[in-house]
Symmetry: C2
Subunit: 243 residues, 2 copies
């Protein structure tokens, strides 16, 4: 039985994230334990160590996962865009600080019932496995960036990653270049890349000066020649795309 998005309403956990092939009765079961939560840009969603009685799917906006050291150093370890999944079935306490990077809407499911549904519904677990494996691949690409790339290569890599992820969500690779929304502050970019915000700013200025990226307003990034940017990432031509 093929899945029809029209049966799905707007919740991405059903038509995009978790349940791409599930059937009608499962959808209704999910509906009964689901609720929405919204956050403004900058607001915390949950702190590491807090009890987390839900799992969720991002509907709109961007959220970050980060880890902090007790002296204040922090490293972003996850960046969640619409349709990404938040939380771990079976885990009672949050393992990371989660912050709304932009205005954010989550579609939440109470954790215990969600776990029960997972047991009865292999599709959901299979879908979650796919998503987790994708996230693991992304984390490994990220590790290469953190461990071995120069500041310039890090910035170029982040911009190509954001361009690709937003493109897959619809935004666009227009005819005269690629453009996308940059939802991150300089500080968030630094947290993502293991740099300081000053270094991020300097490298962004360098790319602007060289015409490799153009900024329109403070949020819109235009990349006149995507290949030129890719050439700055240090990756080989295909951009490290995995199967």
């Amino acid at each position: 039985m093929t899945f029809d998005p029209k049966d799905c309403g707007t919740c991405p956990i059903r038509h995009r994230a978790v349940c791409a092939r599930c059937e009608a009765d499962e959808l209704e079961t999910l509906d009964s334990i689901k609720f929405y939560r919204s956050f403004e840009a900058g607001q915390p969603v949950i702190w590491s160590g807090d009890t987390m009685d839900f799992v969720a799917s991002v509907v709109t906006g961007v959220a970050s996962l980060s880890q902090a050291m007790e002296d204040g150093r922090t490293q972003m370890v996850g960046l969640l865009l619409p349709s990404d999944f938040l939380g771990r079935p079976g885990r009672e306490f949050a393992a990371y600080d989660v912050v709304a990077v932009s205005n954010l809407t989550l579609c939440c499911f109470r954790r215990k019932p969600f776990e029960n549904i997972m047991l009865q519904t292999p599709h959901i677990g299979q879908r979650l496995l796919e998503m987790t494996l994708d996230e693991l691949d992304a984390a490994r690409e990220w590790m290469l960036i953190l461990g071995r790339k120069t500041a310039r290569e890090k910035i170029a890599s982040l911009l190509t990653i954001l361009a690709r992820r937003e493109a897959s969500l619809a935004l666009q690779t227009a005819e005269n270049g690629t453009s996308f929304e940059l939802p991150l502050t300089r500080e968030a970019m630094a947290d993502y890349l293991g740099l300081t915000l000053e270094t991020v700013s300097r490298q962004m200025s360098a790319f602007k000066r060289e015409g490799i990226v153009l900024l329109e307003g403070k949020r819109k990034v235009i990349i006149p020649d995507f290949d030129a940017l890719m050439a700055e990432t240090g990756d080989d031509a295909d951009g490290g795309m995995v199967s």
Copy 2:
């Protein structure tokens, strides 16, 4: 029906890794598509981009996953110890270079039949999801190390991670300190931590000089006071353990 390790023979994919709760007929199906492969320390298992027609579980030894940039810089992105899983169901080409760090035995399963068995056997997929989520957590801890820690903190973190992982496999937290086998060369440690081998050597020398670690031969590491080492990681006291 509870699972009894005695029914399992020696293959970790059955009694530890993938199939902790599977039933007799599934075990036999797995048996029919399984074979073993051995590698000597230093040998490549597979190169990124090669077709990979099997998935596998590590039986003995250590393997590394790494990513290379075309100019030769490399970053280790995975370290597989006994019972860890190698490969991705559904993926035809290897995404990483896999190398035997020490002598290595893999229990392999032909990929297509394994995928079919997964479809019929939810337990395997569920177990694989658990393992993948654990690996994702480990990758995120690793990202903090790569992005924000000093060379000294990186070395201390690596040693505590290895001590903990090997301890969970049986080796030792003896009465007079913790000790374990260090299966990595200085170069592999550097690849793991995003450092050069010279920096690794200098920091190891510093820890020896200060009595925080002792080396016995070239492979055995003794940690007289584990808390003293943990204090050097920059993590808070509980060592970043996740539920």
